[in-house]
């Protein structure tokens, strides 16, 4: 059966779909979809062939769009995606999506997880992580960083439906094995360069990925440093040495090699763009002992671009392709595991997310 590679690109002005045949050399762009609503994260469900896109319109609120025909037509739902009459929690944004085992999960601001078991038509609140350390002050405006405290990412276990990990901004990683009924913080060994009131939380995890070939091997890009876990997140070891900065958002893990991991280090100050105006992806092939700079084909002067949390993706071809989008609307692709790069779109709206899927033709 033939197949093509599809990129889902969430932007400030809608969702775009890029498609290429097997060689991933030429790309066709479709969109913008989702009525031009800001799309924070768009994902593809391989089991049903459905695209889901998390969005929030300044005028008309938040919701999750879905398309059953690869983007040609879309429906929007926010049914059940709210905190009702809660005084403490107001839902302002659906930040991140995950889809696995017939369940679509949405991480939101204010911090909570919603789940849909009918393909995104209706939603119900799964958990707000009540009872976790310092949970009672997470939503106190006096304790928040600028903006809202949110739940930007959910990482499902590939074979256990009730088992997943969630990131709470500025707080850390939490694991559940009973679909959100109970939680355990998983931040042991992480670095924090600021005072914390609780031993188990207060860490700023930006991106968490799991090796498809070894489900106990995790990597994360943190606000301070890159980190690796060899025990399913029970403990973490910093692997920043050799990288130009310890800051960044995006990360990707090699689909066939448990020791290979990609990051895009950024300036950690106010700019949060590529250091020295030079764009580069960095790869470790030995689980973080050494790092190598990959920049062939990427801008090497006057390029001050940012790449956000969901801004990088990797496909599952034998020789994997990497893709990343910038907050200024450029989209880069590599067909050779990051060794060389092409700019495949130059003038998209600011990019918040990039996901890739192999779709049967």
């Amino acid at each position: 059966m033939s197949s093509h590679t599809m990129l889902l690109v969430g932007t400030r002005k809608g969702c775009f779909v890029l498609e290429s045949n097997g060689d991933r050399a030429d790309w066709r762009i479709r969109g913008p979809y989702c009525d031009g609503w800001p799309v924070y994260h768009a994902v593809y469900d391989n089991d049903t062939g459905t695209i889901f896109a998390a969005a929030a319109s300044e005028w008309h609120g938040h919701g999750v769009w879905r398309s059953h025909d690869l983007g040609e037509t879309w429906e929007l739902s926010s049914e059940g995606l709210n905190y009702g009459e809660s005084e403490e929690l107001k839902l302002s944004k659906v930040s991140g999506l995950s889809v696995a085992h017939g369940r679509v999960r949405a991480g939101t601001e204010a911090c909570g997880i919603f789940e849909s078991r009918d393909g995104g038509a209706t939603w119900s609140l799964l958990s707000t992580l009540d009872g976790q350390p310092a949970r009672d002050i997470w939503n106190d405006p006096a304790n928040q960083p600028p903006g809202h405290l949110g739940m930007p990412a959910i990482l499902p276990h590939p074979s256990e439906p009730d088992h997943f990990w969630a990131i709470v901004q500025g707080i850390g990683i939490f694991e559940t094995t009973d679909n959100g009924a109970s939680w355990t913080p998983r931040n042991r060994g992480l670095r924090a360069d600021w005072p914390r009131e609780h031993d188990e939380v207060g860490f700023c995890v930006h991106k968490l990925v799991m090796s498809p070939t070894d489900n106990s091997r995790f990597f994360q890009q943190n606000h301070v440093g890159m980190h690796r876990s060899d025990d399913g997140g029970l403990s973490w070891t910093e692997i920043t040495e050799g990288l130009p900065t310890d800051f960044g958002f995006a990360a990707a893990v090699h689909p066939h090699d448990r020791d290979s991991f990609y990051v895009i280090p950024l300036d950690g100050g106010h700019g949060r763009f590529t250091p020295d105006g030079k764009v580069a992806v960095w790869r470790t092939s030995d689980a973080g002992s050494t790092w190598r700079r990959l920049d062939q084909g990427l801008p090497q002067r006057d390029a001050y671009v940012g790449v956000l949390r969901e801004g990088m993706a990797i496909d599952d071809h034998d020789t994997p392709g990497l893709y990343f989008g910038t907050s200024t609307g450029q989209l880069f692709a590599s067909r050779d595991e990051g060794e060389s790069w092409d700019e495949i779109a130059s003038y998209l709206p600011g990019i918040w997310s990039v996901e890739v899927a192999t779709v049967a033709a």
Binding site: W59, H60, G61, L76, E79, N82, E85, K90
Partner: protein, 87 residues
């Protein structure tokens, strides 16, 4: 029966939603409930929990700024305006 004028950002979200709709209701809230009955999901696009109008949605009844509890008379004109914002 009031005549409700909707912003251009809404019709693309609902099947067969025109820009101008005639709706029964004694208040703005009841008019929005009437829209919700015919186009499920409309309430969420115009209101947030409270319920209250979304911050960037303004409603005028007979050209006067209105809230959800504002009375609507027979033959009233209700304008739903998406705020001039964004970029």
């Amino acid at each position: 029966m009031a005549e409700v004028h909707l912003p251009p950002t809404l019709p693309s979200l609902f099947d067969d939603l025109p820009r101008t709709v005639e709706v029964d209701g004694a208040t703005v809230a009841e008019a929005i409930d009437g829209l919700e009955q015919r186009w499920p999901g409309m309430f969420d696009r115009l209101c947030q929990p409270g319920p209250e109008l979304r911050p960037h949605i303004n409603v005028y009844v007979d050209r006067e700024r209105a809230g959800l509890q504002t009375q609507i008379g027979p033959g009233s004109r209700v304008d739903v305006i998406a705020a001039i914002s964004g970029g």
